[in-house]
Amino acid sequence: MRRPFNLHGYGAVLFKELIHVTHDRMTLVLALMLPIFQLLLFGYAINTRVDHIGTAYFDEDRGPDSVQLLDALRASNEFDLVYSASSRADLRSRIVGGRVRVAVDIPPNFSADIRLGRPATVQVLVDGSDSSIAQEALASSGAIGQALSARLGRASLAPQVVDVRTRVLFNPSLRSANYLVPGLIGVIMQIITIFLTALAIVGERERGTLDQLLVTPIGATGLMLGKITPYAAIGFIDFLLVLTAMRFVFGVPIAGSLLLLLFCALGFLVAALGLGLMISTIARTQAQAMLMSFAVMLPSILLSGFFFERDAMPLVMQWVGFAIPLTYFLEILRGIVLRGAGVDTLWPSITAVFALGTVLIGIASVRFARSTD
């Protein structure tokens, strides 16, 4: 039986792993380029304000105020008035058929109502199948309605055009961009790190090099740390790259301490790489390791709070989330980047991420030490 917590052989393993890593150029390039590439790709896909939404309209009123409303829509970035419907049914068929995402229906007495100081109603139909487009459409049409009401000097009109109360005030598109990019960075880092180490031990097993390694006095923890050090370095470079892109491409400023963020990133990398290592000591084949990584990845994204509020999850799911390094790192990332939070408020998450890293490396070491059955 091998003693699990033995650092012996760290230098030897690091020496060998560095050669592996630098020899395999393709993997190295992919490991360094994928995160920044994916952030740029998905950062834009998820975050850019939705605009140029295809819009159809049916202007039954054809009065001065309906023309003003349509001009306001036309002038906006969000809506492209691509089709003028000939009837209400025509308008409906456009949106039902998926030809447009938004349909604006101006009733015959629109201008007249406004002139008479009565509530004037415009019906805006929004295709809800894409929630981000729908949200944008709701918010923007509301904003336009409000602006128009203000211009017409009839403030009392505002609520009738479209519901405008919530999102316009806080400029929702801007807020979601800031909120999403740091989260996306966390998710990307979690995925790349799992894949970097999930094959580390099982790969040795499948190549037949594991037994030769096991007859040396190399300690289990020494082996684990030697294995993850080069990948931690790659991960750290990845993190610096995506952070740079966040700041200068997506224009998300870092409100808090950069140094604290980098320090926490190291803790997160150790934890996430440790998760990969643990998978690697459990799996018997590389295919198993790949499937296990996949099994871990989706919960990482869904339960960590990236997509859904963790507070709203069932208790069991929240517990699962506690075992995922990303959960804590998201707290830290968003805290430092968005709110400028420091150690005084973030310490529970910081402690947790380092503790989780230690525990995961520990489990991997014990699992490895027991692999001599």
């Binding site: 039986m1 050669i19 037949g208 030769q212 096991l214």
Partner: protein
């Protein structure tokens, strides 16, 4: 001083299946112990238990004076292990593989240089130091594996079928190397399928279905009663048509066992049957056979006899 390798009722079970069943033996210092047996008989499992790669289910074993279960680190520092298949890093060069294992065994910088050149000169690898390991031929890969296993000057060397799949010349050279090491006092434990290799060992053990059914020097094994039942003799008969001669020999009442070796038959017959009688009887029943001569059992005869005796019991 206790023997460098000592196993006492060493046992490995996987569930209900007993892979190695209470095996006991000792290997004296500086000897070459040949460990034989069919595939799946427990050879590799035994070697892995002795190297600390597999946890025994029962019994105990010491290697270089260290208990394999309680002092795995002590065992690991004193042994070298060359496994069945190439188990080094194909993407590293010969020198980098050696460097890694030298570091893994904790040799300091000066010692690493000295030992690397030493093992490269023993194995003749020096000209290939900068070659990527995966580009070496089978024989050279095994030499590299041996070189890596010798870096820390182990007193005990375990080799699991080291010559499987390498050409005959490389095979012979590797064995010459092993005897050189044994001459320097290294104790070798080698599993093999090749009888000619086994015959060169100082002592052999034969494991069959998890049981160690024979253990001793070649002469001791040849003298075993199962191999030479009382009142029997062993003849070698050359024949043109071996299959025909085999069928005829089996029909003879005084013949107890027949085995084909190439173009020869080895038969075990009642001592009352003389060379001349066997020759006449085989020739009389049609076809011709060559000379009949009395022989000592070869190692292969020994194992065939032991395996059959066991099957019969």
């Amino acid at each position: 001083m206790t023997a460098p390798i000592r196993a006492e009722k060493l046992t490995k079970r996987y569930g209900d299946h007993t892979v190695v069943n209470g095996v006991s033996f000792e290997v004296p210092a500086g000897s070459v112990f040949g460990f034989l047996g069919p595939n799946g008989s427990g050879k590799s499992t035994t070697i892995k238990m002795l190297c600390g790669l597999v946890q025994p289910s029962g019994g105990d074993a010491t290697v270089a004076g260290f208990d394999v279960e309680r002092d795995g680190d002590g065992v690991r520092r004193s042994i070298g292990y060359v496994s069945q298949s190439f188990s080094l890093y194909g993407d590293l060069t010969v020198d980098q593989n050696l460097e890694f294992y030298a570091r893994a065994y904790d040799l300091d910088l000066d010692r690493r240089g000295v030992r690397k050149s030493a093992v490269m000169s023993i194995t003749g690898l020096a000209p290939f130091a900068a070659y990527t390991a995966s580009t070496l031929s089978g024989g050279w890969k095994q030499r590299l594996a041996l070189a890596c296993a010798l870096l820390h000057e182990p007193r005990v060397l375990f080799m699991d079928e080291p010559t499987a799949g390498i050409d005959p010349v490389a095979r012979r050279e590797l064995w010459d190397l092993l005897f050189t090491l044994a001459g320097e006092g290294v104790t070798l434990f080698v599993t093999t399928h090749y009888m000619d290799e086994a015959e060169r060992c100082s002592r052999v053990g034969y494991i069959f279905e998890g049981d160690l059914i024979a253990l001793g020097t070649l002469d001791e094994l040849r003298a075993l009663q199962d191999v030479n039942p009382p009142g029997t003799v062993r003849y070698k008969i050359s024949a043109h048509d071996v299959m025909q001669a085999f069928a005829r020999a089996r029909a003879l009442r005084y013949v107890r066992d027949v085995t084909i070796f190439g173009r020869d038959l080895h038969i075990v017959a009642d001592a009352s049957a003389s060379e001349a009688r066997v020759h006449d009887d085989l020739s009389a029943s049609g076809g011709s056979v060559g000379q009949v001569s009395r022989i000592e059992p070869s190692l292969e005869d020994v194992f065939v006899a032991l395996t059959r005796a066991r099957g019969a019991s």
